[in-house]
């Protein structure tokens, strides 16, 4: 029986197969890198806000305390967002004429909340309690970055599950004194990233120790 495929077509098939495999690996590698990068988690991407509010002016320039607007941070799960009354407490006296404040007037007149967009939004199945973290001495900037330098508020961390676990597996390295949790340290910021994934804890699933901080039901509902 004569050869159906010439040696040349054989070579071509081999080449095509190896290029295909290489492309697949490349796509997987790029996809993996993208999923692990900040861009996939909207790091550094500001959200559209009803009012062009600047943390750099209020928290940085004027030195307002975080709790002035986020009053629940020491007691409740949600830190809370400012109401129109909070804003207008000052802005009825200073910087009052800007038409950008129209959403505040609307909210005040209708008794509705100001529709701030959340930048640091966690998925539905995650339970996060601000007060529990603040009481444990985790500073605001550990998760939120130097907010007081941001003209438009952005995420500085991915807030991915792996990122949460970095801390929960080794909480002591991120904890400070509880009374300093709300202080700002311009030189500070989050400690350097730890290796992620399997490199962090090679035999996690066979590991004997499961600390209460890393079991599923602590953070998931």
């Amino acid at each position: 029986m004569p050869q159906v495929f010439s040696p040349r077509s054989d070579r071509r098939l081999r080449l095509a197969l190896s290029i295909g495999a290489a492309m697949l690996l490349l796509i997987l590698a790029v996809g993996f890198a993208y999923a692990r990068s900040g861009a996939a988690w909207a790091v550094g991407k500001p959200a559209a806000q009803p009012i062009p509010f600047s943390h750099a002016v209020h928290a940085g320039g004027l030195g307002l305390d975080c709790r002035f607007c986020h009053a629940g941070v020491e007691q409740a799960a949600a830190a809370g967002m400012p109401t129109a009354e909070t804003c207008l407490g000052c802005h009825s006296r200073v910087w009052t004429v800007t038409p950008q404040f129209a959403p505040l007037a609307t909210a005040l007149a209708r008794g509705t909340p100001v529709e701030w967009s959340s930048v640091h939004r966690l998925p539905d199945h995650v339970r996060f309690h601000h007060a529990a973290h603040v009481r444990s001495g985790v500073t605001c900037q550990t998760c939120h970055g130097p907010v007081w330098e941001m003209p438009r508020t952005v995420k500085t961390e991915t807030l991915s599950m792996g990122w949460c676990l970095d801390c929960h597996r080794d909480p002591a390295s991120r904890q400070g004194p509880a009374d300093q949790a709300l202080a700002r340290d311009p030189a500070g910021g989050p400690p350097p990233d730890r290796p992620f994934g399997l490199a962090a804890r090679p035999v996690m699933h066979q590991g004997i120790e499961v600390s209460p901080l890393t079991r599923c039901s602590t953070c998931h509902r």
């Binding site: 007691q75 949600a78 967002m81 509705t112 539905d124 339970r127 039901s217 509902r221």
Partner: protein, 913 residues
């Protein structure tokens, strides 16, 4: 039952979605849910994000106090108000489901004339015109039709309307009214009397058709008293005794020590026999029954702690006999209290509606206001109300839904849901309470009954002003403000009605006519006016296991004689009126009578409620009788579409529910050998204990679980396939005929087995144990192999065959519990979000968790406190003590799954396990 194509459930989802956006817009909350709304009273909770408000909800006109948990201004979950005497911290299925009705997208939203939406000003003009016309006529031709009214404010306003229009009349209608009880009280005492039993103090109780543990405005109180009486009796070595003689099986009958199925025609003779054996003076006629002497002896032995209750469906003579027997026993003051009825105007309601109908038919009525009633669906069709209504010129219906009566009336006004309106109510014991709105109105055009009534008097008053005026008059101007605030915060506004001591009239016994002992139709309540509520529709009825519809209930022998198999269609004929109904044999049904549940077969109850089951009102006699002899039954040879769930997940029955004689004990629960390595739970070890002896099968826990955990509704088709999603089901075990305790109810949540069979079989590690012994389901890991469910001996795992998230993601959802996508398994979590919340709160306060601090939703709802939850390792915890109790057993314990949920066995007189 008509077929229910898939499209209908899908349609429901779309409607829900639509409603969610409407509700969101109405509440003005489009932004992130961190924001609250100004509300009307000081919150009871700590932080505004999770505030809870005390208010009151009506059932059959009488209030039960509730606390409403709100989240960002939306009502999310109802719980009982521990300070309210008709709730004592528990809830019933209707209270739990109210929050779904509040957010029902099919609620009426517009004022309508002849079905067409109109601006509110048109209604104001029409009311002003009616007012002018009525003023000149002195109110002649004005009729008000309401449900039963116990609200002091509505009673005051109706009184003012009747004073301003001397020719006007007020009629009440309640399809579940027990007019014979009123007639019995009039015969016995010459005045209306409310009987408030204290089942906690009663040592022997005879129920003549009465169902104190069944659904009703006093259920929560009576069930709590009954269970505490049993607990105390067990501790003292002397269990109270409960005898029930009834035609249809009831929850009380299921738990009776001795249950006598009694044909309605025999009821009076039986009551007379007991009364004669008790030596009640003044009996006009004697009766005989073989059981009477024994029951009378038990009652006589109990003396003042004996109690006889006559219930709905008994003739007036039996009610009078029960009252006379209680007087003879000396029960008033011990096992019961007689008070003035809580209703503002106790009257025979069937007669009241009949009076209105004949007046309408005689063209005597020009203006009819139907406030919160639905006579076209709820009154017997034989009365001819619909035909008479067409003769009235000005008809106005106020209701929460565009229901049958709304379609028949010229005007329709949406009523606010009780959770978004001001009002007041009286409990069955007479305790008043003020109803406060817990959310901004979701229907802006809604007008309350108080506003409509005040519009008849002049410029309309707001409901809040009307309620405040009532209580300002009652309390006086001086301390009004402080008492108002205190009443809103506590959820009660006064004391229960004082006891009265009426004397028995000498001629109290007026024997009724002997009813023929032919095949008799016995009418019975069901979920009735709540047909629009999908939670209630999908919840299997405790004694039949039927959901999404009703059936005519036969005793198995009668059904077999008539050639009817379960689910066969039967043609029922009564006095020439016919209806087609499904046949469902129920053990315990008295031979010779057929129970017809009311409230099915609705014609205009939205996508959820329309056409579920058959309409028993089409058979019911015009006088609203509860029993009607002369029923003819014919098998049509067709099958009816019934959804019955009882057989879905029933584990092996042998020994599933042990029954113990008083004082008897089971072997202690000991861990046996296991292939899996042992594990020491050194921290907390969460566990649950469920007292089967206290469970009355009321379903409150199951609906509480559904509300708390965002459990979806799947619809009749899926439910019939066994794809129901309830995390907590209640299994019913029928005892052999003539055994004490006709049925046992065993609630089955996830057992949280220490050696959980579901865990090792999961290929993706999606169900794992945590360090406190919770069997945790990781929805995000689940790939839907369903192997865990196959390997679960308790069948408590539920699979999402559909994506229910769109339907559930409304403002009503509990934000603390995530929604599960299609294709993943889910199950009871022991309310792990409540555990975490309590743990975080304790951590913030720097203290240890207290025993009982974590309450699961089912535990909180239970009227008999049958469910206990806590930490097995905590010294002195209640759940650890119950686990050591001699009645404690593990369900399917021989499988060595070491369940954390254990049960306490039922105590049954004279029977061993």
């Amino acid at each position: 039952m008509p077929p229910h194509p898939m499209g209908e459930t899908a349609g429901r989802r779309d409607v829900l979605l639509m409603g969610a956006s409407v509700a969101l817009a109405a509440a003005g909350c489009d932004g992130p849910d961190e924001h609250g709304h100004p509300l009307h009273a000081r919150p009871r909770g700590v932080a505004a994000e999770d505030a809870s408000y005390a208010t009151v909800l009506d059932l059959e006109g009488l209030g039960r106090g509730v606390l409403v948990r709100t989240r960002a201004g939306h009502a999310v979950k109802l719980e009982g108000n521990p300070q309210h005497p008709a709730s004592l911290g528990a809830t019933d299925i209707f209270a739990e489901a109210a929050v779904l009705s509040l957010h029902d997208p099919e609620r009426s939203r517009r004022i309508r004339r002849d079905g067409a939406p109109l601006p509110p000003a048109e209604l104001d003009a029409a009311l002003a015109e009616a007012r002018a016309a009525l003023r000149t006529a002195g109110g002649a031709g004005l009729r008000l039709l309401t449900g039963p009214i116990a609200s002091p404010t509505l009673a005051r306003l109706i009184g003012e309307v009747l004073a301003a229009y001397p020719g006007a009349r007020w009629h009440q209608h309640d399809p579940l009214a027990d007019d014979a009880a009123l007639a019995g009280a009039m015969a016995a005492f010459g005045r209306p009397v409310a009987v408030l039993p204290d089942l906690g103090r009663a040592r022997a109780v005879l129920c003549l058709g009465a169902d104190p543990l069944g659904p009703g405005p006093a259920q929560l109180r009576q069930a709590r008293d009954w269970s505490s009486g049993r607990r105390e009796g067990r501790a003292a070595g002397r269990m109270p005794r409960l005898f029930v003689a009834e035609a249809s099986p009831s929850l009380t009958g299921a738990r009776a020590d001795r249950r006598i199925p009694l044909h309605p025609a025999e009821a009076e003779g039986f009551a007379r026999a007991v009364a004669a054996a008790l030596g009640v003076p003044g009996l006009a006629r004697q009766g005989a029954h073989p059981e009477a002497a024994g029951i009378a002896a038990a009652l006589r032995e109990a003396g003042p702690a004996g109690l006889v209750l006559a219930g709905r469906g008994q003739p007036p003579a039996v009610h009078a006999l029960a009252l006379a027997m209680n007087q003879a026993l000396g029960a008033p003051g011990t096992s019961l209290r007689l008070t003035v009825p809580p209703l503002a105007q106790p009257e025979p309601m069937a007669a009241s509606l009949a009076g209105l109908t004949s007046a309408m038919a005689a063209n005597e009525v020009t203006h009819l206001l139907v406030l919160g009633a639905n006579p076209l669906a709820e009154a017997p069709a034989a009365l001819g109300f619909a035909a008479a209504l067409r003769r009235v010129g000005f008809t106005l219906h106020a209701g929460q839904w565009v229901d049958e009566t709304a379609h028949a009336c010229r005007w329709h006004v949406p009523l606010p849901h009780p959770l978004e309106a001001w009002g007041d109510a009286r409990a069955s014991c007479g305790t008043p309470a003020i109803r406060q709105p817990v959310t901004l109105p979701l229907v802006e055009a809604a007008r309350g009954e108080a506003e409509l009534l005040s519009a008849l008097l002049g410029p309309p008053q707001t409901a809040r002003a009307a309620v405040a005026n009532t209580w300002r008059t009652a309390w006086g101007e001086a301390d009004f403000e402080s008492r108002w605030d205190a009443a809103l915060e506590a959820g009660i506004a006064g004391e229960p009605a004082p006891a009265i001591a009426p004397a028995l009239r000498p001629d109290w016994d007026r024997p009724g006519e002997a009813a023929p002992a032919t095949l008799t139709a016995v009418f019975a309540p069901d979920i009735g006016p709540e047909a629009q509520n999908a939670w209630l529709q999908e919840m299997p009825r405790p004694l039949t296991g039927l959901a999404w519809g009703n059936a005519a209930l036969f005793d198995p022998l009668t059904a077999a004689t008539l050639g009817l198999a379960p689910g066969d269609e039967a043609e029922l004929t009564l006095e020439g009126r016919q209806v087609l109904a499904a046949c469902w044999p129920v053990p315990g049904q008295a031979p010779g009578c057929v129970t017809l549940p009311l409230g099915g077969g609705r014609r205009a109850a939205g996508a959820v409620g329309t056409g579920r089951g058959f309409d028993a009102n089409r058979l019911r006699p015009a006088d609203g009788a509860w029993a009607a002899p002369g029923l003819a039954v014919r098998a049509t040879g067709r099958r009816a579409a019934l959804v019955a769930t009882q057989a879905h997940h029933r584990p092996d029955e042998a020994g599933a529910v042990p029954r113990l004689a008083p004082g008897e004990a089971l072997a202690p629960i000991q861990p046996g050998a296991s292939l899996h390595p042992d594990w020491a739970y050194e921290g907390r070890a969460w566990a649950m204990s469920i007292d089967v002896d206290a469970c009355i099968g009321c379903n409150a826990c199951a609906i509480a679980c559904q509300a708390e955990n965002n459990v979806p509704v799947v619809g009749p088709e899926e439910l019939a396939r066994g794809r129901g999603m309830h995390w907590l089901r209640i299994d019913r075990y029928d005892a052999p005929p003539a055994a004490p305790a006709a049925a046992s109810f065993q609630p089955v949540p996830c057992m949280h087995c220490e050696k959980a069979p579901c865990e090792p079989v999961c290929p993706v590690n999606a169900t794992v144990h945590d360090s406190e012994g919770l069997n945790v389901m990781v929805h995000a890991r689940c790939v839907g192999t369903r192997t865990c469910s196959n390997n679960c001996p308790y069948k408590v795992r539920r699979f999402n065959w559909d994506d229910h998230r769109r339907a559930l993601d409304t403002p009503r959802r509990n934000p603390e519990v995530a929604l599960r996508p299609r294709g993943v398994m889910e199950k009871c979590t022991y309310c792990s979000h409540r555990i975490t919340a309590a743990r975080t709160q304790a951590g913030l306060e720097g203290r240890a968790l207290r025993d009982g601090e974590v309450e699961t939703a089912c535990q909180r709802a239970c009227p008999t406190q049958a469910i206990t939850f806590g930490d097995l390792n905590a010294p002195g915890s209640a759940v650890a003590a119950l686990r050591r109790d001699g009645r404690s057993y593990a369900l399917l314990g021989h499988l060595e799954t070491r369940p954390r949920t254990t049960y306490l066995a039922q105590t049954v007189p004279g029977e061993t396990a």
